[in-house]
């Protein structure tokens, strides 16, 4: 299985990752997830800073990819996560999975996101007109991960 992991300040190109994932012979199903900076609380979000634990983030993302590989038959997993300051509508994260069958591609992609949300050392600080505040971890993310256990 091909595993590609990146933690970067630069934007990524979803299309390039999709094209790479398509190259995996025998994989008829490609599922991608992308997360974007959005103002979901109707505050006036002007941006977001993503802090991370350099070194551990890459390791954590690779670990997550291999845990997924141990659970499903996968051809390739790509995970890209951005750090630094991002503006509204920018891309934050991409998870792409190629597999022979769609059920495995869907499960692995969602599992990786649920795992990443709970275990990869990234922290979001939102910048709004009312000030900057650290995003609180959500119980719903813990529950999402618990489903896979």
């Amino acid at each position: 299985m091909t595993v590609f992991v990146a933690v970067q300040t630069d934007d990524f190109c979803q299309a390039s990752e999709y094209d790479e994932l398509r190259r995996n012979a025998g994989c008829g199903a490609i599922v991608t997830f992308c997360g974007l900076v959005r103002d979901l609380q109707s505050t006036t979000l002007s941006g977001m800073t993503l802090e991370h634990y350099p070194g551990m983030t890459e390791k954590a993302l690779k670990d997550i990819a291999y845990i997924a590989k141990s659970r499903w038959k996968l051809g390739a997993v790509h995970i890209i996560h951005r750090v630094g300051t991002l503006k509204p509508n920018e891309q934050i994260v991409l998870v792409g999975v190629a597999s022979a069958h769609r059920a495995e591609a869907f499960s692995a992609c969602e599992f990786i996101m649920d795992y990443l949300k709970n275990r990869a050392p990234f922290w979001k600080k939102e910048h709004t007109a009312q000030g900057a505040y650290w995003v609180e971890a959500k119980v719903s993310d813990q529950q999402a991960l618990a489903r896979w256990e």
Binding site: Y53, K59, M113, L116, K117, K124, V135, E136, A137
Partner: protein, 82 residues
């Protein structure tokens, strides 16, 4: 000697990114936390939360995990990436 790292909201509350702890080893994450809490009242409060996560040498561990000299131990709030 243990290299201790702090991230995100915890880093801000402690006004500290990195700290070198000179407690007796082998220790546990729990005993290292007690050692760090003695620093001052600010540290005592910030480092006593039950939600605090810990990684030793960049792998997530529980608070009962063993810490040996030379380890890199990181403390941080629940993660919020993705």
């Amino acid at each position: 000697m243990i290299k201790v790292l702090f991230f995100a909201a915890l880093r801000e509350r402690l006004h500290c990114d990195q700290y070198t702890a000179h407690c007796a080893t082998p220790a546990t994450v729990e005993s290292l936390l007690l050692h760090l809490q003695q620093h001052n009242e600010q540290w005592q409060q910030a480092l006593s939360g039950t939600e605090l996560l810990c990684a030793i040498n960049q792998t997530m561990v529980s608070h009962s995990a063993e810490v040996v000299a030379g380890d890199e131990v990181a403390f941080f709030p629940p993660v919020t990436g993705g």
